[in-house]
Amino acid sequence: MLRVDFVRESPMSTPVLTSAIEDNRVYEIAVLYPYPMQQKEEQQLLKSIEQIFDDVGAKQVAKDAWGRRGLAYPVGGLREGNYVILYYDMAPEKVKDVEQQLKILKGILRHMIITVPKNYPFIAYAKAFEDWQVQRVASVEREEREREEKLKQQVVEKAKRQTKRATKKADATSTTPVRPVESLDVQIDKIISDDSLNL
């Protein structure tokens, strides 16, 4: 499972985001825009977002387009949206301008600018989330299979127990009534043949 454990020594395979210039910082910008959107409009929107950062003189470090995702609650009457996560290396004074421009920009539902901690390992969450979903489905299926197997075993054991009980009962019924009948006959004979009773 790809969990972000943020271990102190992150593995070398994941690229680490650091700003090239000393005073600059890496910022993470998350943008949510509506899902049913025509391709032309979408491209224009993304271009205009990137244009805002270009005007300020920011440098794109990484980009992670999540694409279509269900929303936890309706935003602007929509139940689905597109996510784009952008990483920009820019001067801290410019954040305010960018924020203002993003607020003005049309066609965006939500946006958020946050600072990223030092040596932040870039992880493509779009893929990580999909992997996680696949794994979860697999685990659910496996659990169901195990449960079914357990049920089957239980049924088999129950059937075995029942047959055992049935055989035991049959044994009991076949053996026990023979003896008293015999003994009764013998007793009756004895009684009949007994002269002292004077029947």
């Binding site: 972000v4 943020f6 609650y73 939500r110 932040y120 992880i123 969450y125 996680w132």
Partner: protein, 78 residues
């Protein structure tokens, strides 16, 4: 009196913070799988008393969950 005692944990030190052994320094708001066990059915953040998360990491979790809520990745209230 006896009932009260049974409800208490026998040794409060037994519950360990799940983030501390991994030396987690930052919890990402985009990382749904890690945040999921600390949210209950109604979308509230689970208390530290029940999950055993240390205060440092609980604060990180709080910021992460609040960010995710704003971006409509998590529900405020189900």
């Amino acid at each position: 009196m006896a009932k009260k005692q049974s409800q208490q944990r026998s040794d409060p030190r037994q519950k360990l913070c799940p983030f501390c052994p991994k030396e987690v320094r930052f919890i990402d708001y985009k990382d749904y799988p890690t945040m999921k066990p600390y949210i209950d059915y109604f979308g509230n953040i689970r208390q530290r008393y029940y999950t055993g998360v240390c205060l440092k990491h609980q604060k990180m979790l709080k910021t992460a969950i609040e960010r995710a809520r704003f971006m409509a990745m998590l529900a405020y209230r189900k």
